[in-house]
């Protein structure tokens, strides 16, 4: 046994321990013998689970297979993606439109799969934009972003996109309270207490088509709404939000928002809110927010700016919102599969409070309040509390469930996952994470029916887990087998961006419904070319529309002349293929844009404004056949006012013996 060999590892572990942990741990002994067999998926075989992981500051959502940890796809959602032309093609640009104009980036924190009867139904997955508040719906037949809705009166859309058990609503609670959009926002920052408000948005979701609509917003006190989860089963009809900064600080929150012993969990009776809405108790206010929808028939997104939202005032309409005291700046707010237990995780607390839905209902009936906070009743802590998990670890953040009466909570400060029993509140097992775990994910772990084979830990700090790659390291995810009594670490895998929340689901629910190609007959893009015979180049003033087709392995047309300086050229490329996995790419030299990646049967458009005269090659970027390298063509750009006629062809523009075409 070469002891020296392990010294650096132990050294690193010791440093980490000093910084983040109270307990010694050793990476060397954390993995046991059969981990490789448990995570090995043979070549050509499928993983058992899809894992949909938020991309954090990448703004995207990544899809992994589990247990292998293989990256299957990165789906562009809130950030532009030149690889797929997302946000670059004329068809996808409207997806990123907002009331602030086109926004090329955001910060996607949480993912939530659609549910029916509290179980994952595999139809859609939602994601939140934290910076410029929005919620996106992704279609799991195409694995593409289908819809994005912006949220007025909000900032830092963090407690989102959590859903009710039949996907009636997706919620979005503001993390940063701000003055309302419909009032004057030009106020001194230190008038937070007077002028800042917190809004909770309820976005309804169409039962059949998934279409989102901002149904109403609840106006709440100006505090920070952090995370949330819907009630389920017996508590269906309620929503729970963790709240911090009840101090209402507007500067140095690290200190000033950590003054109180307890902040709140806010319980929202959304069925009651619906009643008030129906009874006309809402107030319509003028706001501006974008609603963007991608149409898979026209292969085109449209963006509409909406101008009104209905507000319900929680202070006036007394029985919608209730505060429950919760120790020390709660972060995670998680509801167990029975709907009875609500777990609040105080970031700075040394215990985990578990609240009882039945006790909350009784406390409300008995008016067991300790007072009011800004007009909202505050239930007595003991009147809502089921019990506390004592000394579970340091810095509890998030909790997932296994459906067998156990909970798994992540501890950022002590870098561990702790398994505990909900009924007797006893700690059963703890497993170290490498390092500083944030969110956890059990397949179905926030639904009524968890499929608890694994828990995945998404770590905030990676340090020495992978080969060094300079100052910036990929974030690390860690897979634990939880099928036995003891958690067993079986795999590390690097991730895209910074994962926060994630969802996992049995692949059987999704894989067979995957779209393989778009039917060319159903393509309703206004610039489609259904067959080479319909390709053409049309000049409209200084706009040139190229109706182009791509099929293995040529473009039609592939020789274009008569483009002049000052022209805007639109390449409308239709992929005529009708088979799976045959996208064509399209790029043209000098385009200050991206490529197009056109799926079979689809039409996508690249805008190009040539900067100087000359010959510009264009080519297919996606290796498509043995003659892929031949899939190319030329565009000739002439000076403004030149008399070169508009010509286009494929296979016909052959050398003329004597006439020079200058």
């Amino acid at each position: 046994m070469n002891y020296l060999k392990y010294l650096p590892v132990i050294g690193a572990a010791a440093i980490m321990t000093g910084m983040y942990s109270c307990k010694p741990k050793n990476a060397g002994n954390a993995v046991t013998g059969d981990a490789a067999a448990k995570t090995y998926i043979a070549p050509g075989k499928y993983d058992e689970f899809y894992n949909f992981v938020s991309g954090g500051f990448s703004g995207q959502m990544s899809v992994y297979g589990l247990p292998s940890g293989r990256l299957l796809k990165v789906i562009p959602v809130f950030s532009i993606d030149p690889e797929k032309g997302y946000g670059y093609s004329e068809e996808t640009k409207p997806m990123l439109n907002t009331s602030h104009g086109f926004i090329p980036w955001d910060d996607l924190h949480h993912t939530e799969l659609s549910q029916t009867n509290g179980e994952i139904d595999g139809r859609w997955i939602f994601g939140n934009a934290n910076n410029t508040p929005r919620v996106a719906r992704l279609d799991l037949t195409t694995f593409r972003t289908a819809e994005i809705i912006e949220l007025p009166n909000s900032a830092g859309n963090h407690s989102s996109p959590f859903i009710t058990e039949n996907t009636e609503y997706v919620v979005a609670g503001t993390r940063f309270s701000v003055p309302s959009d419909y009032e004057n926002g030009d106020v001194p920052i230190n008038t937070y207490k007077q002028n800042f408000k917190g809004y909770i948005s309820f976005i309804s979701v169409g039962k059949e088509d998934g279409k989102m609509d901002l149904a109403f917003q609840i106006q709440c006190p100006g505090i920070n709404f952090d995370l949330s989860h819907a009630g389920k089963d017996k508590s269906h009809g309620w929503f729970f939000f963790s709240c911090y900064n009840t101090e209402q600080a507007n500067t140095l929150l690290e200190v000033n928002a950590s003054q109180k012993d307890k902040d709140f969990i806010m319980a929202v009776n959304w069925k009651k809110a619906e009643e008030y809405l129906k009874a006309g108790k809402g107030k319509k206010v003028p706001v501006k927010y974008a609603h963007n929808v991608y149409n898979e028939k026209t292969h085109t997104a449209t963006s509409e700016i909406k101008t009104e939202v209905t507000i319900l005032d929680a202070k006036e309409l007394k029985d919608i919102c209730y505060f429950i005291p919760c120790p020390k700046s709660p972060h995670g707010c998680d509801v167990d599969p029975t709907g009875e237990y609500i777990v609040g995780s105080g970031k700075l607390a040394a215990l985990i409070p578990v609240f009882s839905f039945d006790k909350i209902q009784k406390a409300i009936a008995d008016k067991a309040y300790e007072g009011e906070y800004d007009g909202i009743p505050v239930i007595k802590y003991d009147a809502a509390l089921y019990g506390e998990v004592k000394k579970p670890g340091l810095g509890p953040l998030h909790t997932e469930f296994d459906g067998k009466g156990n909970a798994y909570t992540s501890f950022f400060v002590s870098s561990e996952v702790v398994k505990w029993n909900i009924k007797d509140l006893k700690v059963l097992d703890r497993a170290p994470t490498f390092y500083s775990v944030g969110h956890l994910c059990v397949p179905g772990g926030d639904t009524r029916k968890p499929n608890a084979k694994y828990v995945i830990a998404y770590d905030k700090i990676t340090k020495d887990r992978f080969l060094p790659t300079g100052p910036e390291l990929a974030q690390s995810a860690q897979l634990y087998d939880i099928s036995g009594d003891k958690m067993q670490l079986i795999l590390d895998f690097p991730t895209i961006g910074e994962p926060h929340y994630a969802q996992a689901v049995s692949a059987d629910l999704i894989k067979n419904r995957s779209v393989k190609f778009f039917k060319i007959d159903e393509n309703a893009n206004p610039y489609v070319s259904k067959g080479e015979g319909t390709t053409k180049v049309v000049r409209e003033g200084n706009k040139i529309h190229v109706y182009m087709t791509a099929i293995r392995s040529h473009f039609a047309p592939d020789n274009i002349e008569g483009v002049k300086m000052g022209d805007e050229v639109y390449f409308h490329v239709t992929n005529l293929e009708q088979d799976w996995d045959v996208p064509h790419g399209f790029a043209v030299k000098g385009a200050d844009n991206a490529e197009l990646l056109i799926m079979p049967g689809e039409t996508q458009t690249l805008k190009w404004v040539p900067e100087k005269t000359g010959i510009y090659p264009m080519y297919c970027t996606d290796f498509c056949s043995a003659l892929h390298q031949e899939m190319s063509g030329y565009v000739r750009v002439s000076p403004a006012g030149s008399n070169v006629p508009l010509l286009f062809s494929t296979g016909k523009n052959l050398p003329a013996a004597e006439t020079a075409t200058k």
Partner: protein, 168 residues
Amino acid sequence: MKKLLFLAVISTLIAACGSGGSNNGSQEKNPYTTENTGAGAETEKKEANGNPSYDPNRGTGKFTHVDIPANLDAAMAENGNKIYEVKCNSCHKLTEEKLVGPGWKGVTSRYAPEWIMNFVTNTDEMLDKDPKAQAQLEICLVRMPNQNLSDDDARALYEFMRKNDGVK
């Protein structure tokens, strides 16, 4: 002939091992599939799984026998023309001239209707096992894309080919 038979046997073996076989025992009722009544039915042997053995004139696919009347069905041919314009004419001319793929003039005299209809609907398997399809691939070097034609699309396309070959 010996060589052909050998190829057929190999192909059969490949087909038996292939993972993507789509017509194992579950053929739907189809106007184009009437087993053992077509030309060459007498000489067909059955494999263990009940499928007819490989006939290079017919190729591999769901079409085992297609009745083609003497006269052209003009409406069907017109329908085939429309499909040709969207899905085929990027690569195939109506003359004898080869573009990406061979020109279509005379195609109906070179191949049986079953072979053509199998090739356009079951393209990948045909390119993987059929000797005549493979011979064409060696000339053209671009695998014909599967354009996901329905059975009726394939039949209409064949009618359009007949029209192009002068059938009235």
